[in-house]
Structures are given as structure tokens and as C-alpha cells.
Symmetry: C2
Subunit: 596 residues, 2 copies
Amino acid sequence: MSNYQTPLRDINFALFELLDYSLHCSTIGQSALDTELANAFLVEAARFSETILAPLGPLGDRAGCQLVEGRVITPPGFKEAYQQYCAAGWPTLSRSTLYGGQGLPQSLGIVLSEILGTPNWAWGMYVGLSQGAMHTIETHGSLRQKQQYLPSLISGRWTGTMCLTEAQAGSDLGLLKTKAEACTDGSYKITGTKIFISSGDHDLAENIIHIVLARLPDAPPGTKGISLFVVPKILISESGDLLEQNNINCSAIEHKMGIHGNATCVLNFDGATGWLLGDINKGLNQMFTFMNLARIGSGLQGLAHGELGYQTARRYARERLQMRSASGPRYPEKAADPIIVHPDVRRMLLTQKVLVEGVRMLCYFSALKMDLSQNSASPDMRDSASDVAGLLTPIVKAFSTEVGFESANLALQCLGGHGYIREWGLEQNLRDCRIATLYEGTTGIQALDLLGRKIIGSGTKTLVALIDEVNEFCSDCAANEQLAPRAAQLTTLNQEWLELSLSIADKAQHNPDEIGAAAVDYLMYSGYLVLAYLWLRAEKIARTQLAGGAEDASFYTAKLASADFYFARILPRTAGLVQSIKSGADNLMSLPDESF
Amino acid sequence: MSNYQTPLRDINFALFELLDYSLHCSTIGQSALDTELANAFLVEAARFSETILAPLGPLGDRAGCQLVEGRVITPPGFKEAYQQYCAAGWPTLSRSTLYGGQGLPQSLGIVLSEILGTPNWAWGMYVGLSQGAMHTIETHGSLRQKQQYLPSLISGRWTGTMCLTEAQAGSDLGLLKTKAEACTDGSYKITGTKIFISSGDHDLAENIIHIVLARLPDAPPGTKGISLFVVPKILISESGDLLEQNNINCSAIEHKMGIHGNATCVLNFDGATGWLLGDINKGLNQMFTFMNLARIGSGLQGLAHGELGYQTARRYARERLQMRSASGPRYPEKAADPIIVHPDVRRMLLTQKVLVEGVRMLCYFSALKMDLSQNSASPDMRDSASDVAGLLTPIVKAFSTEVGFESANLALQCLGGHGYIREWGLEQNLRDCRIATLYEGTTGIQALDLLGRKIIGSGTKTLVALIDEVNEFCSDCAANEQLAPRAAQLTTLNQEWLELSLSIADKAQHNPDEIGAAAVDYLMYSGYLVLAYLWLRAEKIARTQLAGGAEDASFYTAKLASADFYFARILPRTAGLVQSIKSGADNLMSLPDESF
């Protein structure tokens, strides 16, 4: 794992060549962030990630977290790495300049998360969740709350968490029971047990600010009766000094399949002192305002494990000698050919390559739409970007983590039996990856959000906004004889996508189960289409660069080969998905519960 | 996991109803094995599996194996379970009556392996590999070797292993280096290091008989210079008494992703004393004579983890309350509906159900073909069954383990975050399952065997033998208006299968890489077609039973719903696979090795 190298060339391609990041930054009022400056950040983050975080990845897996007398001890080296992270100012990157942040775009923060998270996702979760808590307080906190919490969170002196799940309330937060009772001094007493709290306790920072979902005594049942509270692990004086321990107890940490370096806590709030954040009973709505960002952050995990696996599988395939190429020895001086000569090994590697690079484009593309939805000067552009960003979010979260898992699994497969043992790190990579389709809303939940809320809920308006963009690009390609056939294919698929959506919406009017019956296949189908669009854009750039005599021709030639592979061997998966979607709900719903 | 229940009803369906096992047994000269007797074996095996082996499954994972002073200590309880297994006579079931076996069909041994392996695959591997070693000695040993080794192996007093892999020789056994030097007394000195030796050392039995691949000093290079040797851990006197330790040292056990209860050993043979088994330089050919059986045995692992995961996921989906059915509350008296009401949860469960039950039919179907290929009275039937069994073997091994992994993964997904933690056993199930597509020949190796050797190597003769059988069944269905549409669809797909095979064979004449380029997609395609055939046969039986007023109508109705689901949502995957296969080798081979 210590061989990990940040794929800066490909990050550069996606950010600066494909998405014209400098232009984007000026559109969102960040013209100071030119290519050179942005790149300087990325290079520095890569250095930190490769030298400090990567070696701790396997160590963190083996040591795991320990719960000793109610306190979590993180793996050796995690705390020191966190201190270096803070000293370098990384937590401040995308945060508000009013409280010590650098105010740079969220999209740059997304790329930073990718770079830091790839070789050591468990460590990255501590800082990622903290960003989520800061974002919540920035968006919904009172001025006083911001002044009280943000400077110490942004500097990294404290970290934050999100406390949502309870034993009986996972996907269905409407069932949550944690109580919040008002005190006379304006504070609340929070009582209840939260489970699966990532980074819920640790020894990296001197305090932890929990954002907790709870219910007031007179709140309506279900999701309309949930409020947000800020509940510090250690209480804080008016002047910001740490006082006594709050009534929060970490009673257990989970034994998980992977991400052992991150503590997944059971937290008991036993009349803990907290303060309301935002409006009463609006907790879930308030969560949704930043859910897009959090879900893109989780989608990155698919990218991270896909990339990490691919790097190792590629290296192994170049070194491991087994058998001769079917078309005759390619390296006759060696005892056998390296396995990268075998077509099936190449199929596995190329699958990883086009999914990983494709998902990178998808994550960045979505992050830029989110920037635009919030910071574009034009209200029209904000609205349209918001539609597209909302549509893309569940795809980023679920599709990226599903194909990221597929990639991580294929990477392990490339190593044969060596993939199954600890030495090469790929079994850890697969274990770590496995959580990504579960937390922050499972694939099934994301698919309902996409099809039910974003597509059908908008009367397909959001889909049309995205399809218009794709079709416009395809029209631009029509005059280019190299790109025209794929552009035409993509236009046809767009039409199929729209018709499929309308047909499900129509069927759902008679049977609401039709949405859930189609949802996951529909989400995967959508993901493959968006990736086809991005691969075609990548191909266009590569062709232009090659025609212009670009210096690193082999990089662009590889992009052409990757686009070929994507259209020939990955995009055809949509054919089976369409048939499955069209088959409708009956083949799912007819079997009685007891006959499974 | 202690809730595990052997799916005896479905095993009965596949064996006795679908495949008419009693008739089969008389065809292979085993008419004494009627339904009642066979079923008595299964019931007794189920009892042993559920009460003794199932509770040790999670315990074995946590305790793992320990290497202490060169000896492997298995998890607590493993040895006692092994003693009970031997006392009940299980190792004797399919073994030669000349040496203490019961001489029952191999197919019954396959079903036994499934039942014992499902709740505790790590334990099952000790006895499974031992059966492989016995089979090798039965087939290739001299009379003296049989007399010397078989009685103690068959009684279970000793166990056996297969020692193939070396660090530089995995898929490519031609590269193996272990030396065998002839001594004057007819024995050989074996020197070399074997890795990844499952059950290579343990404390279950008093001796271990290793079957070792090695190379004589003057042997030709590559696979044509490999011989088989029998090398006991403890040397044996003429009268069968144990003498001193042989020069074999277990220097390490691997840290693996799963199957922690089975020791994966590095074995150093340091001039160990062994004896030639069979003919000089024919070692690899001799291995192939029983490879079919070993590979069906590994294919069972996909079935095992698929079944184990499905049982847990189904139970969880019935108990876990989250949200209401989209069509209104189904269980209004509860706080929410059980998640089995949600279409996407049903999609995941049905996918598992039809893959698991489908793979069970596939494994048994293949096992019966193997019985016939060896023990049918008719030479024609032996030949034809041998063709079909040879064709099915790589499909059983690779397809079953690939879709078994998919099922185990979906089972985990059904539990959301609870699937990721240890409590429900599904993360262990996925970790244990992951090795199945790697050992005994990876999926890629199986696919080359199928397409290169079995299909193209036979000039599609073997495929035609299978297709003829399927088409004959489809013709029989043509008069039945309920079955006719699917029978027609299957006949069309059979034609596509044959044409696809011929077209690849044709392309491969010009470019040998076309075989490897198509192989894995082709294998998966073939698997889905064979499963469609078996599901249609299951549907036919279910319809007949329902029309006849069968008592357990709900069982047969579930078979109809499952067949519907399979044809509507699983079989369409072939559409994407066909496109990928037809795209040819160029999109895999054009990228230079260094551009990955």
C-alpha cells in the first residue's frame, strides 16, 4: 500500500481539461483560484496523503480502535497525522472566511477528500464527518453558535459528528425516539441511544461536537417531529474554555468487516446538555440542505477503493509471470509472460480503469454543479444547476459505490489467491469498501430518491435539464465524423431514458410499487448513461489534443482506448437493465412474504 | 447463524423431483439406494450440520488457526466435530467398498458436502480435501498404496491434502520447481516449498497424507514433466504403524480475508520421503481425471454461501420494521412494515433465491452426469454424459461461485448497516465466500477451459450434446401452452449460443486472443442459459404438481414465481453479455502494457 501514488495526471485531466475548472471558478466568484494555485493545493495534498496517510492504512486495519474505560483510542499514528493535517491548515480549505476558513469552493474540498481518503478511508472519515458538522452549523446555526463552535472546528482543535441512527431507526428516521426536553436556560436535555456513529469518540482532538437528531415531547410523530441539536462531548464556557464532561457515554464500538481504524460508536445520551440548531421540527429538512454534499462525499469512497485497487492490480499484473500470451511469447527472456498480456486480465483491468476514471469525472462534474447551484451569479444557472445536482447526487452516491465495489472486487480477482491474503492489501480494500453502499442511505434508498423524488417528483423536469445538456453536446459532435456515431448512440439512449422514466411514472399512478420495483435497475442504468456522456466528452478532448500534437500522447491514446472499451463492454449492460425495468412490479410482489 | 436450517425441502425437490434420483441410481447400478434410504442420509447429515457444525462457524472465524511450534491448532471444537463425523461413518460414504467405504454414488457425496459445508465451510474443507486425496489414490495408486493408505483415510483416522501451488506457480503449474529425486529403495526425496495448502497441517487426525506435484531431475520442462507423489506427514511402517515425522515443516499460515478456521499453510518439503503415484511425468493428466469432481466441490461453495446468506437475509427482512409499504400499511398494528414488503428488498431476496436454487439444480445436474459418465451400463450414455459433464464443470465452478458471491453480497445489503457488523454473520459469510472464485482455478482459468478446451477444442461437439438435450425438452414443452413461450425463447437462445460459439471459434483462427477476450462473458452467458433450462424444468414440475392438487401448493407456487422472476429479471443479463462478447479482442488488446 505504501506504493500508492495520487493519480494527479488524471485528476488534472478531469478537473482542468474536462471541466475547465479555472473558468468554473470565475463563474462562482473565485477567480483568484487559477489552475496553478488549485494544482499547488492538490500536489501538497498528494504529498501528505502518500507519505503520512498511506502507510497508516494497513496499520489502522490491524490495530483497529480500542474502547478503554469509555474512551476510544485510535490506531497508532492517527493522532499525529491529524495534528499534521491541522497544522497544514487543511480543515480550513472550504470553510467560511468569517471563522478562520479559506472560503475556497466545495468542489476543491471534494477533490481534497478524494486525495486524503484514497489510501486510508478510515482516517479520512474523522475529518470528513467533521466537515459535515461544520457545514451544518454554518448553514443552520445562530450567530452565537457559529462564533462559539466554528473557529475551533475549522482550526481542527475540535471535530464533529452526525448522530442520526438508532437501533430501530435506520433508513426510516421517522421512527427515532431520542428525546429533547427544554430547560429553563434555553438548553435541552437529550436522552437516547444512537448507534453506528462514525468517529463518535476518538482521541484525535480535545472536543467533539455532536449534531444530534432528537424529538421534542410535543413533536408530531414521524419525520415531521425531528429537530437538530448541537451537543458537545465536553461542555464549553462562554469564553470557549472546556468545562466538564457532558452526559454522553460511548458504551461500545462495533466489530465491523472493515474500516477498523474508524470507531463506529454506540453513544448513550443520558440527559446530555444540548442546544437547538435551526428551527423546531425542521431537523430533517435542514439535514437535506447539505445531504447532497455528504452523499457526494460518500460516493467518493467508491472512487477511492476503485483507484487503490486498480493501482495494485495493475502493478501485480505487470510483475506476475504466468503462462505465455496466446499469440506467442511476448517476453521470451522471462520464465513466462507477465499476466497483463492475457486478454481476460486486461478485461478486468480495463473495467476498473473506465469505471474509476468515469466515476472521478462523475463526482467532479456533480461537485461543480453544486458549486454553481449555490454560487453562480445567474439565478437561472443556479436553478438549472441545482436541478441537475439534485438528480446526480443519488447516482453519485449509489452508482459510484456499487461500481467501486465491483472494481475493488475485480482488483482482488486479478491477484488470484494472493488477493485473498493480507500482504497486498486488496482484501482490506474490499472490506473497507463494502460499507459504502450501506451508510448515508443504501443503494435502495438512493434509488428511491432518484426515481421517486428527483425524476417522477419533478415531472421529469430535472431529467430533461440533464438530457438537454447531453443532447446539446451530442449535436456539437454530429459534425465530427469520429465522434458522430457514439453521439448518435447516446442521443438514442437519452430518448430511451426519458421514455423509460415516463413509462414508469405512468405505471406508478396505478401501482405505487412500480417505483421501488424499477428503482435500483433504473439508477444503475442512469449511471451508465451519464458515464457514457462523460467518456464521450473525454474522448473529444483526447482527440483534440492528439490532433494538436500533445506532448503526452500516450495519456490521450489511453483515453481513446478506454472510451472504446466503455462503449463496447460496459455500456451494453443497459440492455439487460432495460428489460428488467420494463418487466414491472408483478414478478416482485406476487410471492407471499412467507414463501420466500 | 445457529438458526441455520438445511433446506431439505429444496434439496429433495432438486434431487428426487427434478432429477429423479431413484431412477438415476438404478441406471448406475445403485438400485439399493432408493428415495427413502437416500433421504435418511440427508436428514442425518442435516442434523449433524445444524447442531454440531453450524455453531462452530462463527467461533472458527473468531478463533482462527494458530501455528505453535510448527504445528497448526484448529479452533476449539473443530477436532471434536471431526471425531463425531468419523464416528458416524461420514468419510466412508462414497468411497471404495474394498477399503472400508460404502461405495455410494459420488453425487450423494456432493449433496453431503453441500449440507456439511454450508454453515461452516472452513471446517468442511478439511474433510473435502481429504476426499480428493482418497480419490487420487483410489484412481492412480498401486494396489500396495491403496492397501497402505486407503483404510485409514476412509475411516478418517488420517486426512489428506493436495499440494500443487508454489510461489511462482499458481495458474501456471508448468513453472513448478519442487524436485523429486529417486532413492535406491524405490522412494523419492521431495524438496521444495508449497504455498496456499488448504488443511496443510492441523490437529484433527493423527496423520496427513499429502499428494504432491513435483518434478524429476530429467523431466521435460513445463506441464509435461510433472509427477504425482504421495508424501505422508508421519512415515508409516509396513504394518501401518506410525513411525517418525517426515521432513515436512509448516513454516507459516496465511492471514486471509476469511475461512479463518481452515489453515492455509506454507509447507517446506526438505528431502521428505515420498512415493510415486501413477506414472512418471503424467502427474497433471492424472490430476485432471478427478478435477471435475474437485471443481464441482468448489462450485458448491457458491451455493453454500448463497444459501446461508439468503436464510439470514430472509429472516431479517421479515423481522426488521422500517417504513410503510408504498401501497399503504400492510401491518398497521406494528410501528412500521417489515422490510420484506418493499419491492427492492424483494428484488434482492428473489435474486438470491433464484440464483441459489438454480445453482443447486446445476450442481446436482452436473453431479448426476458425472455419475453416468463413469457408471452407466451403456457406453454411449457414458460418452455423452462425459461430454456434458466436462462442459458443465467449469460452469459449475465459476458461474456458481460468481453468482454465489453476488448472492452473499446482496444478503449483506438486505441488512443495511447491520450487515456490515459481526453480529448477523453476513460479513463473515461474504469474506468466507470470496475465495471461491480464486482457488481450484480462477474464473478466468475456468472460462478458458470451457471455451478453449471444451467448446472449441471439441469442435462444439460437447455443446451440441447439451443443446440437443435442452432442445428436446423444449420440444416436449411446445404442446403445453403455459410452457411453450419460454420453451421457444430458450430454443432461440440455444441457437444464439451455438452461433456465438462458432463465431468465436472462427475469429480465433485468425487471432488466438479472441478466446480469452470472450471467455468470461461467454461462461457467464452459458451459466444463465443452463439455469434457464433448469428453471423451466422446475416450472414444468411445479405446474404438474399444482394441477394434480399437491399438498404443499405454496412450495410449488413459489417455484412458479421464481421462474417468472428468473426469466424476467436475471436471464436478460445475457443481452449485455452477447454485445460484449461480439465486440471482440481489439478493445482489450490495443492499449500498451505501460498505458494502464
